[in-house]
Symmetry: D2
Subunit: 341 residues, 4 copies
């Protein structure tokens, strides 16, 4: 099978290329960049590609559809809402790692992304590919955001089984720097980040609406969540620490059972029998590890959800959706062990 | 003035020694170690002390009281509850950086520290030296814990002015490795910590009871707080991210005003006019920086409190209490600017 | 094919297990630990093994040979010189990641490792498996040390083609913490390592004799090399910066040509056309990247050689030797792209 | 005494401001920025300056000379060669932290800095302020570069006492990111730097000519040095590892004696009696720590020289020169203990 990848030079695109290279069902990868940029050999992009022979060609929707069985967009927000329409019109399969097609409501997109949304009829054809909570896929798969994935997988059992007070959810999410992309700014300067932690986009992170859209689909009663994002001095990894008041007294074992019920068939989700996961338990793998606790003194459930933001939170989940779409075994070409140490 | 320091080899003791060396009111520092260990020159303890001439002598309470105006204990839990009684009996001034005399209730100490507490009559003579919320000091000053300092300074205005729901407090605290001490374990191994974050002592951290003791003194209605501790890959620094439901709708400006009211006279407390502080804003200084936010969508107040755990959270606050005890200007010998970058 | 792995709990063993799991020619992996320790499920060893079903069984040479086609020893120095003799006697294939069989001369082993060497007749049956400078393999393959691999690959063209003054070689090698193993000591404590660099084992590193043994085999005239090791605050990675005086004036292009001549057929060796490699160019891959420069002002050749110490420097090279031994394609099951970012 | 500081917003300027604030001889600090930028309160520049009342005023040479006893320039290369002439004309004391007045030969400056040099008559009035190798100061003090300071202090005894082969010097210098300044680029992005090391400006670093100028003043026979710079993932700190062939066989003790002879009266230079220093032994202090070794197998002297690039390598040495110029005790206002841990 031949596949297309648009946007190989960003972090998600780089990881997607690594994964596609070792995927046993993928025979060839065609790379595409800006429509008006000249073709450029991949090996000139970074030292690590020294021996790669692939070439990044100018974007060309017709050529992509002619030569490939699927296209992956690992592009920034604002690109696929401009480029995706021909693929949608042709019912050509797309996995879109950006946020452009995650929100059903174009006004929400407008509000949170401060950009012009895709047409509502196009948005309606996209499916939200939260791969470890499988629901039917359409030909246009909106791959979830990294924070959204970690948070939704940590909340799903509590919300679907209505174990918590719907107004009480607090998510203190921590993320490494690769989540913020390659742009060089004062905020991403080593001296700013090293030995430091900092909050950003307080109550303004663009993953909030996609989490709310999914949570309210599971349990319409949830009005909102308190969600903060803290930058931590690591390259990869997200930890979402989730707090919620229990609806009625529980035990840690009962919370764990609720999670096991939801996830016992999911090969990439690890509900820990004891203790809390660290991000290195999953970095380099496509796993989500979940630890749970109930504190009877405060009647609070604490869930810790960890993922590799570039794997489960981006490229890994994209491959998982690729496997699901083509009915390959879901773990095909995806590591279930972290790159440790 | 001559002062004594017991326990110079731990991280807090090292920083205390640095601060005492440059304190204009301190003419000499006498160092003491274990009672049954031989005297050892400080310069043999670490390369950085190459040119220091001080000697660590065996602990001797009588000698300490004879030669010094005050003694600092930078010792681990379980030491001063054994060694401090002669000083208390003699009304000799002590600043104790350990947790042994912070809890009024010996049963609480027994429960949280799993050690034999000091006699209740001795505990009664100690004062809790939360230096930026000044209250009268006795001759035995129990210097607060690092997490407790960051959290209490972040909660004080909200609690004292009863702006929040007393059952809704969640504290997601992050700390660097120096907070966990010098012991070499798998948990403190570089490979375990680097590129990682992990929770520890979930609902079991020994600073919880000292926070509750202080919070309930301010507002007895508060039943408990949900408090988690996350280890982050930095050497120094604590960030406490505090969440609480507002009792009634507020604005961010109102929350900030409440903080200004409490802290406008405190030279080391910085209430930010906008944004949230990062830990590097305070590392190396004796400051606590506070950022506040009110989210109307969730009716939640978020406070971010950052300190250097070895300065404001240990040695710096000890010097501040030393200044307070002897009526020196409170900023004497204490940096108000961070060591940045 | 079934293979045995002795010592899965060390860093090299962990990585070897990851690689064997995804190797297309390996159908099953049998794990072995200490002969006198009870069997223990792998999933109890670390959170990341949560879903693994493998069991670590007590070491049993006969069972290993009966059930497997090969055995990997990822054990510390001093183990295989005790355990390997039955395998040698039976001509059963072994890949030994430790240093026990790298030195032909038992007295050198005694001197540098301060341990009792294997018998000289056993040592004589081992081959030194520097996989990217292929030479014939015996059934007992001594996998090279991490520093030795980086240094030898950086020096081979210069030494084999006698381009440099043989007495002028200086190697300033830098390594991450995983190279020093899992033992928790003051030296491996996060606070000691973070924001720091330090030299260790100055002129005493045990990889020096295996480098000299190989270099003198290539060019007996080389009397010794100046070799220092500096610990850098990273988890994985070695950079060897190599300096040598040119025998006669050269150009950078000439030096690069010499390297291309040596390595143009090696799939894992990347001679850069320009610039110098960084360790992240290779981390997670089995590659060695080499940058070269000639400074006419000082008549000095500078070579920078980078590897992932746990891949090319240990487990990756072991798999490469496994592929060579069984005549699989040399890149089978081995990543040629780094895990980046 | 009132002093002026031009360029407080760079890293060196920030540290200089911290040091001047706590200097007992400094009563007031006047800050200056670009001549054509409006005045701006320091507290708006960074959160850490929240409580500072200073204002950064437009540069004005006449006002600076009228209001202050000295001016510090913590500006980038290319600024003082334009701004300094009035101060030189007026014989007004200047400490210049940039490289503009370090090289006597304007052509060297042109070549290495790729900028227009100051007039040769102006250059002639500057003195090179290598403070721990004291030589007479003029009113215009060119503060040495960070790499130059670490390297020259590590080489001085060997060169002045002619213990080494003059053509054999190799310096493998490692530096943290603050040495490269605040500019946000791909090279300074956290993801690029974290877990990585990389060489830069190979044989092209602009501190090379100032080292050669000084070394040849000490011993004209030295033709050149091989000098490489490697970026390490730390914020502060330089380690220069220096290699040279001994002229005739030595012992480590003899090398150490040579260093003691040179430095025994210098309060900031620590010649270690054993072992090698790490950068954390000096970070936050104005010290230079030196470890020495002689390897008889290769007839090589190894010296390890560590400094804090922003203290001894910039602001600390500037204060030391300030103390020397005004005949204050040389340690006035300067920490001799590191900020550890």
């Amino acid at each position: 099978m031949q596949v297309a990848l648009v946007g190989v030079t960003g972090y998600s695109g780089m990881v997607l290329y690594q994964l596609l290279k070792q995927h046993p069902q993928v025979d060839g990868i065609h790379l595409y960049g800006h429509a008006d940029a000249p073709a450029v050999p991949l090996k000139t992009v970074a030292t690590m590609y020294q021996k790669e022979t692939a070439v990044i060609r100018p974007f060309d929707a017709a050529a992509i559809m002619h030569d490939n069985a699927m296209v992956f967009f690992a592009t920034s927000a604002g690109i696929t809402c401009q480029l995706a329409l021909p693929f949608i019109a042709a019912h050509f399969p797309v996995i879109d790692l950006s946020g452009d097609f995650r929100l059903r409501d174009p006004q929400q997109y407008q509000h949170w992304y401060q950009r012009t949304p895709a047409p509502v009829t196009a948005l309606a054809q996209a499916s939200y590919g939260l791969a470890d909570m499988p629901s039917p896929l359409t030909t246009y798969i909106a791959n979830p955001g990294c924070y959204a994935t970690a948070t939704l997988l940590g909340l799903a059992p509590l919300v679907q089984q209505q174990l918590i007070e719907p107004t009480s959810i607090v998510v203190d999410a921590k993320s490494g720097l690769s989540g913020a992309g390659k742009r060089a700014t004062t905020a991403s300067h080593y001296v700013t980040v090293n030995d430091n932690v900092s909050l950003y986009k307080l109550n303004q992170h663009q993953h909030i609406p996609e989490m709310m859209q999914q949570l309210q689909q599971w349990w319409p009663t949830i009005p909102a969540i308190e969600f903060t994002t803290t930058l931590i001095p690591v390259t990869r990894g997200i930890m979402a620490t989730i707090y919620a008041k229990a609806k009625q007294p529980l035990t840690t074992a009962q919370v764990r059972d609720a999670f096991m019920t939801t996830y016992h068939e999911q090969p990439f989700v690890q509900v820990l029998p004891t203790g809390m996961p660290t991000i290195k338990d999953v970095i380099g793998s496509n796993n989500c590890a979940l630890g749970v606790n109930y504190n009877p003194v405060t009647n609070t459930v604490v869930v810790v959800s960890v993922i590799d933001n570039l794997m489960k939170g981006a490229a890994g989940q994209a491959i998982q959706n690729f496997n699901r779409y083509f009915d390959f075994a879901v773990t095909t070409g995806l590591p279930t062990l972290p790159v440790f140490p």
